[in-house]
């Protein structure tokens, strides 16, 4: 059904539901699963990024270190001990731009991502209060392939809106 499934890892645990969905679809389709994280540019100009080590430049060292973190986190969630058809990629820039650029270049045929789950970046993620942020909005509107936005099973509607 699919040849390449692109999972957009936002590094919040709330996107684990989306990862599970991406993994399931990739396994059923015997497709390659690409786990992509975009180091988000803090500004549109500085080329600097926020990581757990603080504000850094997106050097090869930073990118390799992040790939290691992603591999440890996601491979532990895959049953196969050494999954062959899974690739980790890291880019730097504006997330939705890089996701679309990557999807186009790699000709992926499904993008899987999670909604935005925090209002205040300094606060905790609240998977039950998902929002459509810029990244989901732009990727779903602009991608040339289907986009799957996976939410928490506990996702519920609220009349309060917030």
């Amino acid at each position: 059904m699919y040849n390449k499934v692109l999972f957009c890892a936002d590094l919040y645990a709330s996107s684990d539901f989306a990862f599970a969905a991406a993994l399931d679809i990739a396994e059923r389709s015997e497709a390659e699963l690409i786990i992509l994280h975009v180091l988000e540019s803090r500004n549109r100009y500085s080329g600097q990024f926020i990581t757990r080590d603080g504000e850094v430049w997106a050097s090869d060292e930073v990118i390799e270190k992040l790939k290691g973190v992603l591999k440890a986190y996601y491979f532990s969630r895959i049953e196969a001990e050494d999954p062959e058809n899974v690739r980790i990629e890291v880019r730097a820039g504006i997330p939705w731009v890089e996701i679309l650029r990557f999807a186009r270049k790699e000709a992926v045929d499904l993008v899987v991502m999670a909604p935005y789950t925090i209002k205040d970046p300094r606060g905790e993620a609240t998977p039950e209060k998902a929002r459509v942020g810029d990244n989901v909005k732009e990727v779903t509107l602009r991608a040339r392939c289907p986009v799957h936005v996976a939410t928490s099973p506990k996702q519920r509607l609220t009349l309060k809106g917030d």
Binding site: R44, Y45, G47, V97, R101, R144
Partner: protein, 434 residues
Amino acid sequence: MPEMTRDVTGQSVDVEKIKRILDANNGARIRTWLSICSRCGLCAESCFFYLAKNRDPKVSPAYKFKTTLGEMYKRKGKVNREFLKKCYDILWGECTTCKRCSMYCPFGIDIASMISLARTVCWSQGIVPEGLERTLGNYRETGNQMGMSNEDFIETCDWMAEEAEEEIHGLTIPIDKPGAKYMYTVNPREPMYYPQDLSMAAQILTVAGEDWTIPSEGWDCTNLPMFAGDRDLAGQVVKTMYEKAIALGIPKILITECGHAFRSAAFEGPYLAGYPDGKPPVEIVHSVKLFYDYLRDGRIRIDPAKKLEAPVSYQDPCNVSRNGGLWEEGRGIISYIAKDFRDMHPNREHNHCCGGGGGYIPMGPEFKRRRMNSGRIKAEQIKATGAKIVITPCHNCFDQINDLNEEYQLGVKVLTLKEIICELMVIPEDLKPE
């Protein structure tokens, strides 16, 4: 054995190298400027750093050039690292080379040029802001500040052509079209961070029926080496662009909405690239001029029903207005797109720098707090207009005003000309998507 000096940390300075730079520039201009300044203080009030720092005399333009380049000449280049680090703080932290002070100097001393020369001395000793230094490697390796490959750039153009075709029937982004009228050059932030800008440029140029192309190399019109002090590289950057236009047989280079790119390509680049007459080998046209011509000549028509109702102000980028002469063209465009225009005071060629020019924005977080503090003058100017929208045809102004918007809670929306023109222009019937 080259002559060296050492500071308390034992780090050395190549005095011979500094002397060579100073000697090479020790012409009548610099000698006159350094000796003619009478400390009248008229330049002080013109400087937004001075105003924002409660009129501290140590931030006046005259003080800044005397204590940096002036001292370098006085000491005949025999300076140590400690001195150069103090210069670093002044040269990059307290000046954006906006050239406003030169307008108020009764002798017309070009202080920005002297600050730039002092930057070159610091750069020669490896003393340069990290944010700028990082771009230099990118320019050397890839020819552009963001380190984007030409292949990725072309792919981004193809991608944006696909997107724009949904708005404009038959739109293409021609690459390396020989003999086109305009070679459109961009700021790499566009393909990297907001590729829609390329799409919008393509829409405007297509609706205007323009004969244009994008080059597959030499497409970056920015020139951060010019602000870092690396003059050789700055010359090479601009030369690559000129030579591409010549190779394609294109008579005009079109500059995107970027201020310093215009200053580089039209005014400083020819000198940096070693053209003896100081003129670019092809005509340099800024987007502000071309867009104004399109609106004036009816090649682009604005839907009157869509004209902006909210109060609008216009930020004159220093290198488009004061140093580029296009302040009336900018206002001319606004007259077509906005009903309620509220100019800043002062304005036009007298407008203050946003505080993000001269390499300040890419210098990054190390200088952010100072950038916000000195930007208070611009924030106050904007607030006084009561505008809800600030339009500016410059990436640095755009980013700086966005940051000021947050810092000073200005409550404005910052827009580029392309964004508004695309939103408001009438699409001719034959170009409407099927």
